[in-house]
């Protein structure tokens, strides 16, 4: 149970552990497994009450294709991409700048401003809702992908700045100091010295923000109305109403919405976890 290595236990315990692992995982992921099985089931199965048993026919391609043919899922997915990618780029780029400013320079406002970013990151969305919606309406950004991207980027800056600042702070300061003595300009130090060093942080931050933004539902609900800009999370909910009791299609659509962040997680797992736990190991 503890950091007592399992290798030191008896053979029986080891085998037991190896056997329990898949069972535990199965139970843990049961909800997902069930929804996957449903997504490849023929509609007849569901009508006949065969919800959790083996599908009588495997309609993986047919069901998933049907989602695209019978709904705007394709458009929603594309909207999610159009919202998520620019947000990641803007938020990460800006936070490299702010994080650099708040970690490398010793000025009176460094800590207070840093805390403003940190605090802003924890604020409940609802306190921003009315003014942000109002601002979006009055600037013509309501119901546009641009409007959502701008807001997401600004809001994510809180977390991103916290992240980049802590990361840059951990770099050896002597490097920057000696570059300064050599007469290298401040921006050049940032661009040629610091940026290459923070690449791992940029990677970690990018996959995290990607997941956060892709999964956003609240702001999509508040700032978007039409199908032309609706992301897949909000789209899936709309499909839930559209495909009444066509559970095989609802589950297929739900899983489609989950694919990009899951792929991202698997591809960049190390970075993802490093990003999530930065600050958990120290501080």
């Amino acid at each position: 149970m503890f950091p007592k290595p399992i290798e030191k236990s008896s053979a029986a315990v080891r085998t037991g552990y190896q056997l329990i692992l898949p069972v535990a995982l199965f139970l843990w992921l049961l909800p997902l497994l069930a929804i996957f099985l449903t997504s490849i089931r023929p509609a007849a199965d569901i009508n006949a009450g065969n919800i959790f048993g083996m599908p009588s026919d495997f309609l993986l391609v047919e069901n998933y294709l049907a989602v695209f043919q019978q709904s705007k899922a394709g458009e929603y997915l594309w909207n999610s991409v159009r919202i998520t990618i620019p947000t990641v780029i803007i938020a990460v780029a800006l936070s490299c700048l702010t994080g650099y400013a708040l970690s490398v320079y010793r000025f009176r406002w460094a800590v207070p401003l840093f805390f403003v970013f940190v605090a802003g990151n924890f604020v409940p969305f609802q306190i921003l809702m009315v003014p942000v919606r109002d601002l979006s309406v009055s600037t013509g950004l309501y119901d546009t992908v641009t409007g959502l991207v701008l807001f997401h980027s600004a809001f994510q800056l809180g977390f991103c700045t916290l992240f980049m600042r802590n990361f840059i702070k951990a770099l050896p300061f002597e490097l920057i100091e000696s570059a300064r003595i050599d007469g290298v300009g401040e921006f050049k130090i940032f661009w040629y010295l610091v940026l290459p060093l923070v690449k791992p942080a940029i990677a970690a931050l990018s996959v995290l923000i990607f997941t956060f933004i892709w999964n956003d539902f609240f702001w999509a609900t508040v700032l978007i109305q039409g199908d032309h800009a609706l992301p897949i999370t909000a789209g899936v909910r709309a499909l839930n109403g559209q495909f009444v009791s066509q559970w095989q299609l609802v589950s297929a659509a739900s899983l489609l919405a989950a694919v990009p962040p899951v792929l991202m997680f698997f591809a960049m797992q190390k970075h993802f976890i490093a990003g999530l736990t930065l600050g958990a190991t120290k501080g």
Binding site: L21, I51, A101, V116, A119, M129, V132, F217, S251, G283
Partner: protein, 310 residues
């Protein structure tokens, strides 16, 4: 802000302006780097907080003229049953969501072994966190369906009538919290797994020499070293509990009869739904939620400040 950056007049007054810039570049540079992000953050995050608090003193439908009503919105809250239901549900969320912390620790301890394929197990266990809460909400709505959901099957298996969890005023909030725990436990688990990586083997060994094992080992040797992970796990869980919106929106829409409402959803409902556009009243609810959150934010910042000093 202006005091630090100096003023433009001195720039033009001295002909060899490069020298002024040069002398002050260390002072100016942080503001150059900060400006774009800070302005952006101010417009979309900082200013709206104060605007919201300000709006909470008005009666406003978002279109017509605002009408100053002072504390009237807050007075009305005091008589609003739906507000109190939401507030109580928020407390339930805060309390029960905390189960994610020990549960996450438990799974982390369980998975903290080196056997073949354990890395894959760890990442698969983390899965629920990566998935959108909207999807989690749909999955569980379906699970809870008494006619064909797994709850129905289990109850029928024991020969009992399955409860309609999401339609039952007394059960609905717990049903939603349970769904929310699933991804949250995964989150806490990963925080603890990382923390366990950094547990010093020397101390564990020393503890073992002192005959510490089982609970004693956990309590006296392991947990103290996991303090940073525990702290972050509690912070993110509290914030997650108070932010609960997606699951409620997807699973019940606050129903039945507002019994699964929380402040975050009730605010949305009053300000922006078929019930009308009461921006002022909604902002008052948001302000209350913000004040509750402020307790935790202050605590977190205070902790960070101690670290910065030390």
């Amino acid at each position: 802000m202006a005091s630090d950056s100096g003023n433009a007049a001195t720039l033009t007054a001295q002909p060899p302006s490069r020298s002024w810039l040069y002398r002050n570049r260390i002072k100016l540079a942080p503001w150059m780097f900060l400006a774009p992000g800070l302005i952006f953050f101010f417009i979309y995050v900082i200013a709206p907080i104060f605007q919201s608090i300000w709006i909470s003193f008005y009666d406003w439908d978002g279109l017509g003229p605002k009408q100053w009503v002072g504390m009237a919105n807050y007075v009305e809250l005091m008589d609003d049953d739906r507000f109190f239901t939401s507030l109580i549900n928020n407390i339930w969320w805060l309390v029960l969501y905390m189960l994610a912390v020990p549960a996450g620790l438990g799974i982390a301890l369980f998975l903290n072994q080196t056997v073949t394929g354990i890395r894959l197990y760890k990442s698969l266990f983390f899965f629920p966190f990566v998935i959108s809460q909207v999807v989690v909400g749909l999955i569980f709505t379906w699970f809870y369906n008494p006619d064909f959901g797994i709850v129905g099957i289990v109850w029928n298996f024991f020969g009992a009538t399955p409860p309609a969890i999401l339609a039952d005023e007394d059960l609905v909030t717990f049903g939603i919290i349970f769904a929310g725990l699933w991804p949250q436990i995964a989150y806490c688990m990963i925080l603890y797994l990382t923390g366990l990586n950094n547990v010093s083997p020397d101390q564990v060994e020393a503890g073992r020499l002192d005959n510490a094992s089982g609970w004693k080992m956990l309590w006296f040797i392991i947990l103290p070293q996991l303090k940073p992970a525990t702290f972050i796990a509690i912070v993110v869980t509290v914030i997650g509990a108070l932010r609960s919106f997606d699951l409620i929106a997807v699973m019940t829409g606050g129903g039945p009869y507002g019994s699964s409402n929380v402040l975050a959803y009730y605010m949305f409902e009053t300000a922006l739904s078929e019930y009308g556009f009461r921006y002022g009243y909604g902002s008052a609810i948001a302000t209350v939620l913000f004040l509750i959150m402020l307790v935790y934010i202050s605590f977190f910042l205070w902790r960070m400040y101690q670290d910065e000093k030390g």
